[in-house]
Amino acid sequence: MIHFMTVLGIWVGAFMTLSIFSFLYNDNPFYKIAEQIFVGLSAGYWFVYTIYNILLPNLVDKLNADFSGNIILIIPAILGIFMLLRLVPNAEWLSRYPISLMIGTTAGIGLLTYLKSDVIAQITATMINPFSGNSIGAIIGNFLLIIGTFSGIIYFYFSKKHEGAFGVTAKTGIYFLMVSFGAAFGYTAMARISLLIGRLQFLLGDWLHIIH
């Protein structure tokens, strides 16, 4: 039975993959079926997953095991119910409390962590001795890092007209930005091809057994 279910799963997976790929030729009913099954299944899966892996173990099971010891959990439970009240027009205003709490907490945590990791640490990492590398390549890399960061920031300074030495620096910043966009495009192309490879490994390997 287990073997049969595995084989059936592979055939369903292959059918769904080919149905989605068929969109590359043209829109068609197979694509629409696969797309809608995916959307419906995902919604259903997440709903059940959230109940069994988040709501029950973190709230219901704990309250069942030791109600007085976990009584504090009543507060997030009530806030959770408030959030759902967005669906009730007369009580919609109550949902502002959990939302404000979430925004406040996220902003408070984010302010410190992002300031430390994304601003201070990143700026500090740019303040390097450019000659500290142990090879010519590393030294050139250090210079590029400093020039790229500096000119890139200058490009985004709009309170002064981009002309003269300032304009040249800003233009240098554009070139660095273009290189970074090119790298991002290259990585994106690699990611999409990787996904295609993953699907073809499934089709040619698990389904057709052409590759091992």
């Binding site: 892996n53 991002a184 990585y187 994106t188 690699m190 990787s194 295609l196 993953g198 073809l200």
Partner: protein
């Protein structure tokens, strides 16, 4: 036929052939191993035996082709180095990813014991808040393992009370919460080493963390890095098998970009001549 009128389906067919032919008949193109990949490998390799290490599975099946080979290779390397692997997931389906990795490991390492050599803490919602709480007290965030047994019942969790008890964190991350949040909490606050792997799409935004401040020790970006990591580990996984296809598909894309640009320049010149 002018190139700008080329049917896009011809490009799809060429990409399909460029990917499928090398999968069926591998060419064996050479690979250059990048510094970032070597750094991740050295981190695992140089960490002493019996060290507690944390693996975070922050991805789902959509990113499996890129991140799963990295997770498999790293898990395998850590087991070979006899490190004690504590696993968690910041993405709900990361737990299934962990289970698949362990299933594969049990074939190669039949003697590994749950609770002694590795453990699964499971998924916890909250992202960065969960990580922050783990920094102060892991047992409060995860009083039990994924199956509901108390953490104190497992030898691997002896003397592990906070993130600071781990030698390093490896995050296999397809987005947020993931490796960036681990950098913010595990490295920038708890001061422990962080490395990992990301999808190629997110690599450019995460690479700046591999810097002079060592916010990230190293980074595996996309399938190419996964294949390089497999190569360093002397392990031929799905990433290595896919690299010929990756290279040929990139070649097709490069050829089309060159042809497109050449066509654009020729058309522009033709228009200019027409205007004169």
């Amino acid at each position: 036929m002018a190139l700008q009128n080329l049917d896009r389906r011809i490009i799809y067919i060429l990409i399909f052939l460029a990917v499928s032919i090398p999968l069926i008949k591998p060419i064996g193109l050479k690979m250059h191993i990048s510094e970032n990949v070597k750094k991740v490998y050295s981190l695992v390799q140089e960490t002493p035996e019996n060290s507690r290490v944390l693996f975070s599975f922050d991805y789902d099946p959509a990113s499996m082709p890129e991140l799963h080979p990295m997770a498999i290779s790293a898990f395998r390397q850590a087991l070979l180095k006899k490190q004690k692997i504590v696993c968690t997931a910041m993405w709900p389906m990361g737990v299934q990813m962990y289970e698949d990795v362990v299933k594969k490991m049990k074939v190669e390492f039949p003697n590994i014991k749950y609770g002694v050599d590795y453990i699964n803490l499971g998924y916890k919602a909250g992202g960065i808040v969960t990580m922050q709480a783990m920094e102060s007290d892991i047992n409060k965030v995860f009083p039990t393992d994924f199956s509901g047994k108390a953490l104190s019942d497992f030898p691997i969790m002896n003397n592990v009370s906070s993130l600071k008890n781990f030698k390093y964190v490896l995050s296999f991350s397809a987005g947020a919460p993931g490796i960036k949040e681990w950098v913010m909490i595990a490295h920038d606050q708890a001061k422990i080493k962080v490395a990992g792997g990301v999808t190629a799409v997110s690599a450019p935004s995460i690479l700046p963390y591999v810097n002079d401040q060592h916010q990230l020790v190293g980074l595996l970006g996309g399938m190419a890095a996964a294949a390089q990591f497999e190569s360093l580990n002397h392990f031929k996984g799905t990433a290595t098998k896919g690299m010929d296809a990756q290279s040929l598909a990139h070649l097709v894309i490069i050829i089309f970009i060159l042809m497109g640009n050449l066509n654009y320049i020729l058309l522009k010149k033709k228009k200019e001549r027409g205007n004169k």
